[in-house]
Symmetry: C2
Subunit: 623 residues, 2 copies
């Protein structure tokens, strides 16, 4: 079997497939796409914050990137342990729930949900940002392009077409390969020119400083840059995907992803300093992404440039797809634990969890529209959720080691604790520094989401308490029901309903509701002829005609009152209300008929008790 | 009883009220509002077309107005006869239907419907045009003002608050009184100054000519000005409103309306010539209505000016209300003849025909938005419908006289024939000259509307052929039905459904549909314990358990197939399908539950035959 065959059989969705397993080569694209793609927007986000410092801001990108890489290293060591401890897959929700309790699990679930939704928006808008940098004439269409890609991703995921592994493999390695080449070549030129390389395509001059450097600006730049860390947890979620020996292979994959990410982050930071590349203001004319300027500076705007940017666009757009794989699954886990509606655990017609996909698409679309399709504005919202999930997951791991207390548990606990501390501190930094820029929104939405989860759970518990039983059936003994036929004028519809009632029981009421203005015939006029005489001839009890008078405003009230009184007068019998139902040949014909029957059914359902049963006798029209 | 009391009791809606009748004094506002208000936009529409001729265009307003007044005179004489011939009310739909056949009636109905919708849009936008002429700072809000007035009218009509007659009386007579004063005073000054009166507030200079006069421009100006004739038919529709002697009073009212209209049209035409008042371009800065300039020229912009413009605004906005009174009634007539859905003949909770009102508001709103709230652009659409209805109605009258052939029938027929000819020719002129400006749209919409009417009628005929019967009931003889219970896991819901089935019949199937991935318990596991043993103990036939296996894609298919096979196997018995139904305490809880029950009901309704009856057993949750 060729490598390609192996790859073609390895879509992201194979996380589901039992029996087939992957190694690091496929693991890096499948589980690392989200993490690697963040190299494309993390450094840019930090540089954007440094914009007001002008050229003076560029040197700060070095220390900021170093700090981010240090945190990345801590997180890496911490997640290696999670992989070893949860070979069955240790998502933040699971780890937090099992070790810290369901509430913390739900908090992680809420954080992750937000994270996934924001990841779609950020991934797509960053991809489109890279695209419009390469082809500036597309700039006015930023929003439409974002929604177009979102629509395509949604459609693909709803169709459940298992994307071949190639879709992930090619752009991922193209991304890594081209950016790696840019970094190596750029580094070599920089060394050759003693740190003063000449750009092939000169990047726009960094604008003049409008502010001087302050701790506050640097902290905010760091907080923005931290989005580069998102997606690192994916491998620990996906451990069961790996072939044996599972844990070492998963750890090796994580190592590969982190190593590549470190090279990319460090390289981009150094080169943007060396080539004097600052951010440009997103959403304004002349905007160009940092990566675009960087590639152009090293290689010029040739074929290689467009190939590289193509890979970046593809990887960013596909990184949004990670959410489409993970969000519906998180929803399913939450649905199985009864924290969200059960329908999230129901597979759609194409065997995917359609409801989760649709919800994700709608929410991400709302975000894209609300924020005008500009990544930068979405990033503050993004990081809080991701770091909260990180922190909860690793804090859960500390608790895990404490509970297990196996060989060397203290060392493991210390490693995870330092991971939790690093991400926890980062969380606080991000939350505080980004509070006014939108992080407050995350902090409002997360508790609301938590309340929603708990409310849903309370509802389901109430329902199962009320409907649950293990008692055997009490056999009721047969009783003929009382039948009530809702009649208009004398027609085959009414006849059919009445016939059904008469086959069921001898105790039939035909109820006609009339208004003063009504032009329908009074059934009493021909009652004997149409019903009374045939019944007498057959020697059975004739149905009883009840004529009720109604005003227009509350047409059904007398009818419903009559049914309620029947149900109360006969505590041991069912009341079967028979409503004739005209079934159209074509759906659009329904607008030509009033929906009194459906309305009456609704009123009876809520007003009457458990022994009132509503029946529609279908009369099928033909062409 | 004072005059005011009489008036206060005479809202437009009293067309409905039996027993109370009106004379000419109340008749002019109630039935003449639409006709009189058109004096406010007809001449302006003609002058707008003359704009390219500059000052050279002004003299042409005289002959054009004279021609319009001549047609008005012919139409007047013709409608006087319609009043005499149809004392029960001779709307265009009725007259055309009874004399020319249902298709022509429908054509008139389609024309009238369009006319009413356009009248709302034109009335409101002309009213707002008059308002922004008086208060130019409102100009940017033209659209919002239009929609605001439309919303208010809709609300008032939906609430069914019977507007007191004063609402119509005061503005109508204020309109007639103030404009009459303007015309008389302006005329006097013109005579005193030998045809060269000096304007108190000088109107804007008529812009330089950009074209020379051509027949084509004059024809188009005439066609636009013809909108001044709309609304003349209202009296002939409303004859039954008048007190005895009905016909003479109605004729006198028509005479009064036409006389006032002639004075207004002639006066406005003469004064705009005398004072050199041309139209200004609607929707552009500096726009001012012709009436506004005229009143300001004669009286200056004092209190009288604002009072006059206030009356104009009120009359125009109220003229839209005429459609709100007539359109729903036309819909009701069409619904009673089964050309539109029956719900248009159903009175809403406030005793008005809500559906017609809402439809009218939505369509007029769409028009206002599509045309930017500018009257001028709507006028081409307007006139075609009105003149088609005129022509059909009068042609119908010719046929009427021919059929009746009473004393002097030939004279009457000739009068109506000349009316039909005059309006028919005008119709052709308007249709041709306004074709590219939007009249083509009317000519596309009208046939489509006609096809819709006929399609709806065909549907209802098909239904009544299929359901109609006068045969007495065939008594079926009692048969126990077969019951099929759709079961999930064992719960009080399932129990309740099963109990209902067992009270109904001994022949009960419990059907559980399972998928491979399902986690619900297999009912077979505890069948004997829960159902079998109790049944054996009671000595009755135990329900039969049917377990069906399904894939996810077509979950209900095996179930529905089973029901269909049962129905086919038992041609003499009903199959009652029992689906448990959880009734929530709060409506929003429904989103937490899947709608499989509702979906199954829908599938069964369409797939199964007339003997398969679907039943929901309601289980009411409590808090």
């Amino acid at each position: 079997m060729s490598v390609l065959d192996v790859l073609l059989g390895r879509p992201l969705s194979s996380r589901e497939a039992e029996g087939e397993h992957i190694g690091p080569l496929a693991g890096v694209p499948v589980l690392g796409l989200d993490a690697l793609s963040s190299a494309a927007y993390g450094p840019e986000a930090a540089l954007t914050l440094l914009l007001p410092l002008g050229a003076m801001g560029l040197p700060y990108i070095g220390p900021i990137s170093a700090l981010i890489i240090a945190i990345l290293a801590i997180v890496y060591v911490s997640y290696r342990q999670t992989i070893a401890a949860y070979p069955g897959g240790g998502g933040s929700y699971t780890v937090a729930k099992e070790n810290l309790g369901p509430r913390y699990g739900l908090l992680a679930g809420a954080a992750l949900s937000l994270d996934y939704i924001l990841n779609v928006a950020v991934g797509i808008s960053a991809g489109v940002g890279a695209l419009v940098s390469a082809i500036p004439s597309l700039l006015p269409h930023t929003m439409s392009l974002c929604l177009l890609i979102l629509g395509l991703l949604t459609l693909i995921n709803l169709r459940g077409t298992r994307e071949s592994g190639l879709v992930f493999m090619l752009p991922t390695y193209a991304f890594v390969g081209t950016l790696g080449t840019v970094i190596v070549v750029g580094l070599a030129r920089s060394i050759a020119s003693h740190g003063h390389p000449v750009a092939v395509t000169v990047p726009p001059t960094v604008p003049a400083a409008t502010q001087v450097a302050s701790i506050w600006i640097l902290v905010r730049a760091f907080a923005s840059g931290c989005t580069a860390l998102t997606g690192v947890e994916a491998v620990s979620n996906g451990v069961p995907l790996f072939r044996k020996p599972t844990v070492p292979l998963a750890q090796r994959t994580l190592t590969a992803i982190i190593a590549i990410l470190v090279v990319l982050l460090g390289g981009i930071a150094y080169l943007s300093y060396a080539y004097h590349i600052g951010a440009t203001t997103p959403g304004e004319a002349g905007y160009q992404s940092v990566l675009s300027m960087l590639v152009a500076a090293v290689f010029g705007r040739g074929i290689f440039y467009y190939f590289t940017i193509g890979a970046v666009v593809a990887v960013l757009a596909l990184s949004a797809n990670t959410s489409f794989a993970d969000f519906p699954r998180l929803c399913r886990v939450l649905a199985n634990d009864r924290y969200v509606p059960g329908s999230f655990a129901v597979r759609g017609r194409r065997l995917v969890f359609s409801q989760g996909i649709i919800l994700l698409a709608v929410l991400a679309g709302v975000l894209l529209v609300a924020f005008g399709g500009i990544t930068d504005r979405l990033i503050p919202l993004f990081a809080v959720g991701a770091f909260l999930a990180f922190t909860l997951s690793q804090a859960g791991m500390v608790r895990h080691w404490w509970r297990v207390r196996g060989h060397g548990w203290l060392r493991s606990a210390v490693v995870n604790a330092s991971g939790a501390a690093a991400t926890g501190i980062t969380l606080v930094v991000v939350a505080v520094s980004k509070f006014t820029e939108g992080a407050w929104l995350t902090m409002v939405v997360m508790p609301l989401l938590l309340l929603f989860f708990l409310g849903v759970n309370r509802h389901y518990l109430r329902v199962s308490r009320q409907i649950g039983t293990i008692a055997p059936l009490e056999l009721p003994g047969r009783h003929d029901p009382i039948a009530v036929v809702a009649a208009g004028s004398w027609s085959k519809l009414t006849q059919q309903a009445l016939k059904f009632a008469l086959r069921l029981t001898e105790d039939v009421y035909v109820v006609q509701v009339r208004t003063e203005r009504d032009s329908i015939e009074d059934l009493a006029d021909n009652w004997d002829l149409l019903i009374g005489n045939p019944a007498r001839a057959a020697g059975i009890a004739a149905p009883k005609l009840i004529t009720l008078c109604s005003d227009v405003r509350l047409f059904f009230k007398p009818f419903v009152d009559f049914v309620v009184s029947l149900e109360e007068a006969h505590p041991d019998r069912d009341v079967v209300v028979v409503i004739p139902d005209l079934v159209m040949t074509h759906w659009y014909e329904n607008i030509l008929h009033n929906n009194r029957g459906a309305f009456l059914r609704m009123v009876l359902r809520t007003r009457c008790g458990a022994r009132t049963i509503v029946v529609n006798t279908p009369f099928h029209l033909h062409d």
